[in-house]
């Protein structure tokens, strides 16, 4: 397939699929709704196939690490293989509702996920330490508003000095909300323009540029 054709066909498919979804969203046309449902089902099926590709990618990359005994990596790769196949064998052999699978899930994935999430507490503290520095006027503003918000969220402070809690609530309600809405409006317009650019075949970055 030539370079041009390889670009043109996806652009045509993107445009047609986009037009179907656009019509389905704004107009009541029964056969278009059916077409849109079909397209969305296509998406689900393609995503399911892509998950297989993901698994293949994992096996190739980590298999290579094990073969080459990559320093600081290969034993993690080996462990990944063990866990992955344990989940696959138990899940396929006994179904995902079987006690063995549920036990494995609740005693490995759930605590590890919670641990990963809890890292945020420490990372927020270290990020805040670096960000809240009185170096520039913006930094000072961030520091002051951050301190007020933190104090406002401490029960003993908000009970003993209600003005701080009120000020914290005001910061959240007025300046923060105003800024967030401005960002949201800009992002919404940006999304629309990106969509139009994509449908017109002008956005080529996701296909590897020119």
């Amino acid at each position: 397939m030539s370079f041009g054709t390889r670009r043109t066909i996806p652009i045509i498919i993107t445009f047609l699929a986009g037009m179907v979804m656009f019509t389905e969203y704004f107009f009541k046309v029964p056969f278009v709704s059916d077409a849109a449902t079909m397209l969305m089902n296509f998406g689900i099926v393609i995503a399911a196939f892509a998950l297989g590709l993901g698994a293949a990618n994992l096996l190739i990359i980590h298999g290579r690490h094990i073969r080459k005994r990559t320093p600081r990596q290969w034993y993690f790769s080996a462990w990944m293989f063990i866990v992955m196949f344990a989940f696959i064998i138990i899940g396929v052999g006994y179904t995902v509702n079987a006690p063995a699978y549920v036990w494995l899930f609740e005693n490995t994935l759930t605590p590890v996920s919670t641990t990963t999430y809890s890292l945020l507490a420490f990372f927020i503290a270290s990020a805040a330490y670096r960000a809240f520095r009185f170096r520039t006027s913006e930094g000072a503003l961030l520091l002051i508003s951050g301190v007020i918000l933190m104090l406002g969220n401490i029960p003993i402070v908000s009970i003993s000095i209600p003005a701080i809690a009120d000020l914290a609530a005001w910061i959240n309600r007025v300046p923060t909300m105003a800024g967030l809405r401005a960002i949201l409006i800009g992002a919404a317009v940006g999304t629309i323009v990106l969509g139009i650019r994509t449908y017109l075949g002008q956005e080529k970055g996701y296909m590897g540029g020119e």
């Binding site: 009541k28 990963t116 629309i192 540029g209």
Partner: protein, 259 residues
């Protein structure tokens, strides 16, 4: 038959589309608008250059989004992928290894194709490392832990993250900070923007990520669409002010705007 409650959305869409077409037409006539510089995107060259000098890789990720390309974050995913092509070209040009970590399996072939094309454009298809695109996991926490490990082991000199991000945003930027990476991040998810602003060297905020692909392409027609984006914002601003005034004066026209 138009679906009720979506008329004003359709009108807004038509107006913005008209602005895009108008600006494209003007660009074709040679009238290319000037747009402001985006420091975050300009810094990508510097970041990849730094990675070249240090002999360390560039890490790129578009983050995690449920639903992948079929979900509500698809636009941000596409925006992130648009920048990947540019990063890939620079990496190919300077001979730096680029590592992309992937969470949405439906974007995996896109990652591979974009990087393959980028290296091909630089005439170095053989230089693309076979393990450049690394699928981590579809699960947010597994993906986060996996990327943390990749950053710790690979020690990237540049950490570029553009797309939809959730709680993993801060985990990745802190891991990047520990490795001394120059960090460029961008998202339109308002809950994650503060983390990026606080921890990264450069941040693309909201709409800037959607303009990134066009900005980096430097093509007049694409640049023109960024100007159309600004016209859309002006339209939103005009609607906002007129709505505010109408509401303040208790004008019944406000009821009509709700159609």
């Amino acid at each position: 038959m138009l679906i009720s409650g979506r008329v004003s959305s359709l009108v807004s869409l038509i107006l913005i589309a008209a602005a895009v077409l108008l600006m494209i037409r003007r660009a074709k006539q040679g009238k290319v608008p000037r747009i402001r510089r985006l420091a975050g995107l300009d810094a990508i060259d510097e970041a990849v250059g730094r990675a070249t000098e240090m002999g360390r890789p560039v890490h790129y990720t578009i983050g995690w989004a449920s639903g992948g390309l079929s979900g509500s974050m698809a636009a941000q995913i596409l925006a992130g992928l648009s920048v990947l092509g540019y990063v890939g070209e620079l990496a190919a040009k300077y001979g730096v290894k680029v590592i992309t970590t992937v969470s949405q399996p439906d974007t995996l072939p896109l990652h591979e194709e974009i990087l393959r094309m980028a290296y091909q454009k630089q005439g170095k298809p053989e230089a693309l490392a076979p393990d450049s695109v690394r699928f981590i996991s579809i699960d947010l926490y597994a993906y986060s832990a996996g990327v943390l490990g990749e950053i710790e082991r690979e020690k990237p000199a540049a950490n570029i993250m553009i797309g939809p991000f959730w709680m993993e945003s801060l985990l990745f930027t802190e891991a990047g900070f520990r490795q001394g990476s120059i960090q460029i991040a961008g998202t339109a998810r308002t809950s994650q923007i503060p983390f990026f602003v606080a921890t990264c060297d450069y941040t693309l905020i909201g709409e800037e990520i959607f303009a990134a692909g066009a900005y980096l392409s430097k093509e007049p027609i694409q640049i023109a669409t960024i100007a159309a984006q600004d016209m859309g914002k002006l339209l939103a601003l005009a609607l906002l002010i007129s709505g505010l005034l109408l509401y303040a004066f208790g004008n019944p026209i406000t009821a009509l705007i709700r159609i």
